[in-house]
Amino acid sequence: MIKIENLKHYYKDIDGNEVKALDGVSLSIAEGEFVAVIGANGSGKSTLARHLNGLLVPTEGKVTVNDMDTMDEDRTWDIRQSVGMVFQNPDNQIVAAIVEEDVAFGMENIGVPSAEIRPRVDKALAAVGMSDYAKHAPHLLSGGQKQRVAIAGILGLEPKCIVLDEPTAMLDPQGRQEIVATVKSLNKEKNITIVYITHYMEEALQADRVVVMGAGKIQFMGTPKEVFCRVEELEKLGLEAPIAAKVASELRKCGAKLPKDIITEEELAKALCQ
């Protein structure tokens, strides 16, 4: 679905110096996959995300979405329609003063006939569990609800893939729960490809594959188990493994015989009670 080949992206900072935000990233994402991207601040996660729908274009290398090159300006709108994006700040991505109008915004932009918009808005709101709030004003919603409205706005465009750039960073635990559950169900039930950038390791545990970024490069990747049992390597990159994995690693250092792939609390508890 998405292919990234040796992607490099350099920003110019205020003094005109080059900042290498991405320094040779290669990654391919299959249709229906749930990929989590983790990495310390400034490791290039957002820059990578913005290449996936042509908001940024490569300085070097190539990004293709369903065989459409993001450099090809004629396909920009097709690409943005198939790859939707949810941003960190829930307030700054809702355009209209009524929830349902905002959900309709994307569809209006791509010229969906008026009669078709209504049913698609209702369907999208139902898919994120926000049907009851169709007529509400966005500023009266909670952060989690706002993010779900933003997701609904993208679902209206019937995308193949949704990229979420730290969608839970500004939410309380309950809101985070809501978003993770919503994203998971979209992935499982609608087979939408998910690229989920996060600072929360527990959220990354839900993914099929975890990509670890550091200094503009992919450091390593694999299933959550493969990634999170590499506690020390993660720490070197400024990341913290889930608590269970850390505890297990410390216990192993003290000589406890524990399996190497413990990453959740339940697994740790089970292993300890044996």
């Binding site: 729908n53 908001l55 709108w77 943005r80 329609q81 939707g84 994006m85 941003f87 700040n89 307030d91 700054n92 991505q93 809702i94 355009v95 209209a96 003063a97 009524i98 349902e100 109008e101 309709a104 915004f105 994307g106 569809m107 209006e108 932009n109 791509i110 010229g111 969906v112 006939p113 008026s114 918009i117 209504r118 808005v121 004003a137 966005p138 500023h139 706005g153 993208i154 465009l157």
Partner: protein
């Protein structure tokens, strides 16, 4: 403290007036303003006042609330009245005190002018009381669309209004938050003379502006990510359509206009 500001002055309801298409209401308001300038006799002013009262009754708005919308311009009304009373030359002198002369003509003209202003204001507030700002925006966009060829940015204006409606409450919330944060650090927004107060506002305004620019940046990117590329080829979820009520409204307003025009010029023709 800033939370209870309602945007615009929409008063929800489901009266005949509320249900009219926003374009009808906008056009009828314009036509009514024209009608106001046709009036020149006490009878025609009576008709206009009666008509306004009737519209308020039909719209089922609280009468006092509508009348209160005149309050902000009372000083303009007073000035208008005084200027006309004291500067209009005339024959019948009612009162004279040194250089100030009050004539009957001046008094009449002053009252007429004030009445015109009051009617104008009342009628346009009925428009904003009965139409939500969002629907009003749609109406304005749709009415301006034909003027696109002469360079009126209809869609852009409507988009600006939509975004303003969306973000004003958010910015008010933010203002409130910054105010509390700065008060906690010892800032004082309430006391001192004007200059001092403006100075004290700086720690409020600077973060507010920086925040607003950051929001604008984020929003632009989010809109682009959702395929926004201007008004070209855009469709709308809600399409405005005229119904039978709208035709009734147009007929009524045209009858009013022609009636007033007849009262003014028609009598001379006969």
């Amino acid at each position: 403290m800033l939370n209870n500001i309602t945007l615009g002055q929409y008063f929800p309801g489901d009266s005949f007036i509320h249900k009219l298409d926003p374009r009808t209401k906008l056009l009828c308001t314009l036509l009514f303003i024209v009608a106001i300038f046709f009036a020149n006799s006490p009878i025609s002013y009576g008709i206009l006042c009666g008509f306004t009262l009737l519209v308020i009754l039909v719209s089922r708005l609280p009468f006092v609330m509508v009348l209160k919308s005149v309050k902000p311009i009372w000083i303009i009304l007073l000035l208008t009245l005084c200027i006309h009373i004291f500067t209009t030359p005339g024959e019948t002198i009612l009162y004279q005190y040194s250089f100030l002369t009050v004539t009957k003509e001046g008094l009449e003209l002053g009252v007429k002018m004030c009445l015109r202003l009051i009617l104008l204001l009342l009628f346009s507030s009925i428009l904003t009381f009965t139409t939500s700002p969002i629907v009003l925006t749609d109406g304005i966009e749709s009415l301006l669309r034909p003027f696109k060829c002469i360079g009126v940015p209809a869609h852009e204006l409507a988009m600006m209004m939509t975004i303003a409606l969306r973000f004003i409450p958010t910015l008010l919330e933010e203002t409130d938050r910054i105010m509390k944060a700065q008060t906690a650090r010892g800032a004082d927004f309430e006391s001192g003379n004007i200059i001092q107060r403006v100075k004290n506002m700086l720690p409020l305004l600077i973060p507010l502006f920086i925040g607003a620019f950051r929001r604008a940046d984020d929003l632009a990117i989010a809109m682009e990510a959702r395929c926004y590329r201007g008004g070209e080829g855009r469709t709308r979820m809600h399409q405005l359509s005229y119904g039978s009520n709208d035709y009734v409204a147009f007929v009524v307003i045209f009858v009013l206009i022609f009636g007033l025009a007849f009262l003014r010029w028609g009598t001379k023709l006969i």
